[in-house]
């Protein structure tokens, strides 16, 4: 079930919409620096604020799509979620698992490859953005409340690994 993409433009404001939701284009410089900003704000839990924000806002888009297109099957929901991830330009994701545990893998990652282009390798994973996306996707697939899944990045392309790996556990 391929993701249907409906790009529209408000010709009065020139705001752009994807499947009815306003979207805007930025570059890897922006998300690399936002990632760096939240890392610098670690003492106020900056990385988790970013992850939670991504979880809350992306879940709205995912569930809206599931509802409008009558998607109820967990595999179909997963496919839509990973295709949306690529549509946002965030990379190539595969997921596996159930309502208790799972895994997400990235063979390509906007955040990691953007960081590498800008600053080179980093000694630890930094993809807090995708931790939030994976949490949103698992919660949306299994109809769970927000923060129902904890997501830990155990390997990152930014550290030199071939792929990024995110371990998912029911909280």
């Amino acid at each position: 079930m391929p993701l249907k993409l409906d790009f529209t433009l408000d010709e009065n404001t020139y705001r752009h919409y994807l499947n009815g939701h306003p979207v805007v284009m930025h570059s890897h410089h922006y998300l690399a620096l936002i990632t760096k900003l939240v890392e610098d704000l670690d003492d106020i839990n900056g990385p988790q604020i970013l992850a939670d924000t991504v979880e809350d806002t992306m879940r709205v888009l995912l569930e809206d799509y599931f509802q409008k297109n009558g998607i109820t099957d967990t595999k179909d929901k997963g496919m839509v979620g990973t295709e949306y991830f690529s549509t946002f330009g965030l990379g190539k994701m595969t997921i596996s698992g159930n309502d208790q545990c799972g895994e997400a893998k990235l063979s390509h990652s906007h955040i990691d490859e953007g960081w590498l282009r800008k600053w080179g390798k980093h000694p630890k994973p930094i993809n807090h953005f995708t931790r939030g996306y994976v949490a949103a996707l698992f919660a949306a697939i299994f109809n769970r409340s927000p923060r129902s899944f904890s997501v830990t990045e155990t390997a990152g392309i930014v550290t030199g690994e071939e792929q990024s790996v995110f371990v998912v556990k029911a909280a």
Binding site: Y14, T57, G114
Partner: protein, 192 residues
């Protein structure tokens, strides 16, 4: 002929970006992302709410992220094939027209429905924006961090040392904002 803003906006607004088989969008010499504006606004709101005593530091970080994005992506835009096809045939006044074309792209691609209201070449730029997504954000005070960064970047691409050596030549201050009840956002770029 100078840049016909409305024609450029209409032509560029039709451009859509699509990811490749790697789920990435390599365009304009950068990796592009296409994100919900609610995510960007909510992140700024939550970071500022989490540490109001560090407002200056967080705001500076948000502006810097936008600025570096704008500087590097902006260079990719004004040297792109689409800009060359649509804008460059109308350019007769060099930097001034390139800047006009860049602000048409600024509008067309949804960063802000905005335009130049005053330009002193290489010295000062005043921009007014009549619609921008940061105006939807919740919070206190002027908070169009993205536009502050992008306006500085675009003026530097036109009038600072050639890319990539012109960074941090100018500074942009927001003086009005729809988010605080003004009819438009206003941004003034001057030398540091």
């Amino acid at each position: 002929m100078t840049v016909m803003r409305n024609d450029v906006v209409k032509a560029l607004a039709k451009v859509t970006v699509q990811s490749n088989e790697q789920g990435l969008i390599p365009e304009y010499e950068v990796l592009v992302n296409l994100l919900p504006v609610s995510l960007l606004n909510t992140l700024a709101e939550r970071l500022l709410a989490a540490a109001p005593e560090r407002k200056t530091e967080i705001e500076a970080g948000l502006v810097r992220a936008a600025y570096e994005c704008g500087y590097h992506t902006g260079c990719g835009i004004i040297t792109s094939e689409i800009f060359s096809d649509v804008v460059m045939p109308m350019v007769t006044e060099e930097e001034k027209d390139i800047l006009r074309g860049a602000y048409a792209a600024f509008t067309a691609w949804g960063w802000a429905k905005s335009g130049i209201v005053q330009l002193k070449e290489g010295q000062k730029l005043i921009i007014r924006a009549f619609d921008y997504y940061e105006a939807d954000s919740k919070g206190d005070g002027l908070r169009a961090y993205m536009l502050q960064g992008l306006n500085q970047a675009f003026f530097e691409l036109a009038y600072a040392a050639p890319y990539p050596d012109g960074m941090d030549t100018f500074v942009c201050k927001q003086t009005k904002g729809i988010e605080v009840g003004d009819a438009y956002g206003e941004f003034i770029v001057t030398g540091k």
